[in-house]
Symmetry: C2
Subunit: 143 residues, 2 copies
């Protein structure tokens, strides 16, 4: 008997979640052992690396799909370590811009290449065609 479509979506989701968690685990381990950092810290720095001019706290939490409160504490720690800087907005006193410091920028550049290599290692099992197909399907989820 053929599974109802909803059951197949469920199975696909369970597998998707498993693969993602396993990959996250490997990256977490890599960041911890090789670079003494964590995934959330890396995520924040990566977001700020992409937006060099700086982003507001709200933009940051939207980019990372985490709550505002969460973004605040991770940024707090990165700021205490001198990797990130908060700058109050001139035009709106509620708003704060966050950006990498030169130290943060340098540290992230050192990390980025190795991180990319590690991701490539984790997904080495996927062919070029797989990557295309996967990206294509993933785009279709949100729309």
């Amino acid at each position: 008997m053929s599974d109802p479509l909803s059951k197949r979506r469920l199975k696909m989701w369970i597998r998707l979640l498993g693969v993602t968690r396993a990959a996250e685990g490997e990256l977490r381990e890599f960041l911890r052992v090789k670079h003494a950092t964590t995934l959330p810290r890396f995520d924040v720095m990566a977001a700020l690396y992409r937006k060099r001019e700086g982003v507001t706290m709200s933009e940051l939490s939207r980019m990372l799909l985490v709550s505002n409160g969460n973004a605040t504490t991770v940024v707090d720690r990165l700021e205490a370590d001198g990797l990130v800087r908060r700058t109050p907005s001139e035009t709106d006193r509620r708003t704060v811009f966050v950006a990498l410091t030169p130290e943060g920028f340098a540290q992230f550049e050192g990390l980025a290449a190795e991180h990319e290599a590690e991701v490539a290692r984790v997904f080495a099992g996927l062919s070029e065609a797989d990557l295309d197909a996967m990206t294509d399907i993933l785009k279709r989820v949100g729309s």
Copy 2:
């Protein structure tokens, strides 16, 4: 210059992570609003529902890809709520079996169908062919 293929794997991973986090967020919201529970609790109960005879704590944390310490605290809370029961092994006094109580079993059965429908809703954008292709590709990641 970095290998373009590794960059494509990285982009696929970033998209994969984004889709997974967005879906997790929707399911979390669904469980919280409609059923006053959380994703980790649901995950534990789902694992125990699949293995009715019970599992050891180590098996449980391997199934969910979480640390032993984490499994302990989530099971602690479910046990305090009477949804889960710990039973010491007869043959190995280090080992503990965990299983759903009748209350836990009943609660999960009420949840499961709605959860499946919610997952189907989240991934409604994917066709049958997409599901097949996706599942196929995901299988290839681990091997």
